[in-house]
């Protein structure tokens, strides 16, 4: 087994509020991990700590062998290998779709523009947006914007992808197209950590499901274990409300 993400004793406080109270978790290469739990359970904060968009109060996060909260670690270097998809898409509105994809590979990874563009076109085809190459994001639906955001993250050829409730702000009819792209990625054995409320997706795609509540991982296991035979009272209470 080849660990990509190792989290040990992760704690995160916002002022006096303890949002994460000691998280231990390892994500292996090619693994798809879904994180579920009630809102306010700390699952988004947990995900954002994995590329240090949130600072870490205590504990360690190791990504691809680099310890994040260590001053000698080049954070921007580590982040190049960690793609992230946000609930609010966060596509760059002042750039055409193609430029959203090519900016970071050219400016950050310093790759050949021609190569990057070829790859970007292939990615747009993969997410089904070939006809939107030269369009500005404001002309796109939420589902299309989110697919641009996924393609943008993939353009950096990351080793792991983080998804922070990627379908939560989408219209119901566009949720499917985004989940479809994510399923394709999982089938290609992309290592993924997905914070989601889509229980159907978690059951179908996840190798492992983490249930979080009150800043802790309460229970984890295969989708069958979590959804069909939950051991903890809190897991059962949560699932009875959402399923």
């Amino acid at each position: 087994m080849n660990p990509v993400i190792i989290v040990e004793g992760l704690r995160k406080n916002f002022g006096k509020l303890e949002v994460l109270r000691g998280i231990d978790c390892t994500v292996h290469l090619n693994e798809v991990v879904c994180v579920i739990g009630p809102s306010g359970s700390g699952k988004s904060t947990f995900l954002r700590c994995l590329n240090l968009l949130e600072s870490i109060t205590a504990g360690t996060v190791v990504i691809n062998g680099h310890r994040l909260n260590e001053s000698k670690t080049n954070l921007n270097q580590v982040r190049q290998d960690v793609g992230m998809v946000f609930q609010q898409f966060n596509v760059f509105p002042h750039m055409k779709v193609i430029d959203n994809l090519t900016l970071a590979p050219i400016k950050v990874a310093k790759q050949q523009p021609a190569q990057v563009r070829t790859r970007a076109h292939a990615l747009l085809e993969k997410v089904g947006l070939t006809d939107k190459t030269d369009v500005y994001p404001s002309k796109l639906s939420g589902g299309q914007q989110q697919r641009v955001a996924i393609a943008r993250a993939l353009a950096m050829q990351p080793k792991v992808m983080l998804f922070d409730e990627p379908t939560s702000s989408l219209d119901p009819e566009t949720v499917g197209e985004v989940l479809g792209v994510m399923k394709d990625l999982a089938q290609e054995h992309m290592t993924m950590v997905v914070v989601t409320h889509e229980m159907g997706f978690a059951r179908e795609v996840a190798d492992r499901v983490l249930f979080m509540d009150q800043g802790l991982i309460v229970e984890e296991g295969t989708p069958e274990q979590i959804f069909d035979h939950p051991q903890h009272e809190r897991t059962r209470a949560f699932l009875s409300k959402v399923l």
Binding site: N76, R79, Q80, M84, N90, H94
Partner: protein
């Protein structure tokens, strides 16, 4: 009545208008550079830089421009004899310092108006501070900063009249001199007012054109 107002009166006023334009152009340019730098400093990741920028902005905004100009021209040379400058450079420095503080606040506001998710998405792609600001934050902030900056530029045209207190013969001072000589304050200041309008209205038109282009 208007026939009395010949070229000998008009020429110094036009000369003054030209210097007003020069003052506004120079201090608008330098003020924008200062404003961009201090606007960025106001939201810098390093706290002492933020404090220094806040100090500058608040000190300048807490003073009348008039006092700023009088201080630079009459008081500074007493403290630092090597800081004695002619009226022209003093006027430009004074107006630039003034403009810089206000434009810094405009820039800060525009940067803060860019959704935080934009910078986060850039960070998540491995972009450092420089790349993030150059390609993501500033291009979006500029769209928001330009309309209020143009509004400020119009008020800078009018604020430039204050440099007459240090004896710089721009449009207002020229008007006072001409009206003293020709004893025609009504006509003279009507012409002065018309010239100020001619200077500032095109800026307003440009601003309206720019805002329309944004939508």
């Amino acid at each position: 009545m208007f026939s009395d107002f010949g070229m000998e009166n008009l020429r110094p006023l036009l000369e003054g208008a030209k210097l007003t334009l020069y003052l506004v152009a120079m201090s608008g340019l330098f003020g924008s550079v200062i404003g961009l730098a201090f606007g960025l400093a106001r939201v810098a990741p390093f706290a002492p830089i933020r404090w220094l920028a806040a100090l500058y902005v608040n000190l300048v905004r807490g003073q009348p421009v008039l006092i700023l100009l009088l201080f630079l021209y009459f008081a500074m040379p007493l403290m630092v004899p090597s800081a004695t400058f002619d009226r022209g450079p003093t006027a430009i420095v004074g107006l630039s310092v003034y403009a810089g503080a206000y434009i810094a606040e405009i820039v800060r506001g525009a940067i803060e108006a860019v959704p935080r998710g934009q910078a986060e998405a850039a960070s998540a792609l491995g972009m450092g501070y420089l790349l993030r600001y150059r390609y993501i934050v500033l291009p979006q902030a500029m769209k928001g900063a330009v309309p209020p900056a143009i509004g400020f530029l119009i008020s800078l045209v009018k604020a430039s009249s204050l440099v007459s207190v240090i004896g710089y013969v721009e449009l207002t001072k020229a008007g006072r001199i001409v009206s003293t000589l020709n004893q025609e304050p009504l006509l003279t200041f009507l012409v002065v007012a018309a010239l100020y309008f001619v200077l500032s209205y095109p800026i307003a038109l440009f601003g309206r054109w720019y805002e329309r282009r944004l939508v």
